[in-house]
Amino acid sequence: MSDTIQKTNPTPENEPVYVPRVDVRETAEAFVVVADLPGADEKSVEATVQKRVLTIEGWTQLEKPQGGEELGREFGAGRFRRDFALPDAVDPERIQARVKSGVLTVTIPKKEEVKARKIQVTG
């Protein structure tokens, strides 16, 4: 298994931070990071790239029903963050991010020059 995209250390924070679960796959064109962020929408999640580190972060909140009294809790909400070191072969300018149904998909295109090309062999 290749570890081209690796988790790096989150910066110290004064509150607990959830680390979202992710799937990462590599296609011919790009690296794709898919993160579970239940409760998050486009307003509460942010993806940034700085010094070849992709950071996804944001926050979620539990929506207490009106007049509700909590009986049990198996999942929480709050701040979340995860960092990924990007390989050199990607173009940070063309990263795209999209959130749907509490799932964030970040597409990190590879640089043109590193994409595999088929070279015509002439005889």
Binding site: M1, S2, D3, T4, I5, T8, N9, P10, T11, P12, E13, N14, E15, P16, V17, Y18, V19, P20, R21, V22, D23, V24, R25, E26, T27, A28, F31, V34, D36, L37, P38, G39, A40, D41, L62, E63, K64, P65, Q66, G67, G68, E69, E70, L71, G72, R73, E74, F75, G76, F80, S101, G102, V103
Partner: protein, 148 residues
């Protein structure tokens, strides 16, 4: 479906090397490469009691609501469905897989018989909310006291 992290990292973690060795050790010991915590059943649920009955939130990011079946019989609620995993297409390489996928089934005993016809479910940002009202016959009744 968040992994609860340790929170404030102590200064030791500046030593990336050390942490990476530690992570490798943990991986070896746990026999798994992804950060995992021993989990409750899927989907994890938060439960509230309301004036009408119960409200349940089920955390299921990325699940298509069409793939979830909710059934209420008497005082039993059952959730059944599947989380579609994305199979890598030809030429794709999976570098990391931490998100759960597959079929799930979870059954809960409710503290009352629910009015099955009035159960409401909504899905928003990966969270399924189910409102379960009490059945009519189980609603608390106020009894008027007759005065002489």
């Amino acid at each position: 479906m968040f992994e609860l992290s340790i929170g404030p990292r102590n200064p030791w973690t500046i030593f990336d090397e050390l942490e990476s060795i530690q992570a490798d050790m943990n991986r070896l010991l746990a026999g798994a490469e992804a950060p995992r915590r021993t989990r409750v059943a899927y989907p994890p649920l938060n439960v509230w009691s309301t004036a009408e009955g119960l409200v349940l939130d089920a955390e299921m990011p990325g699940v298509d609501p069409q793939d979830v079946e909710i059934s209420v019989v008497g005082d039993e609620l059952s959730l059944h469905g599947k989380v579609k995993g994305q199979e890598p297409a030809a030429g794709e390489t999976v570098l990391r897989r931490e998100r759960p996928a597959g079929e799930f089934q979870r059954t809960l005993q409710l503290p009352f018989r629910a009015n099955a016809g009035a159960v409401k479910a909504t899905f928003k940002n990966g969270i399924l909310r189910i409102a379960l009202p009490r059945s009519e016959e189980e609603k608390p009744r106020k009894i008027a006291i007759e005065a002489n």
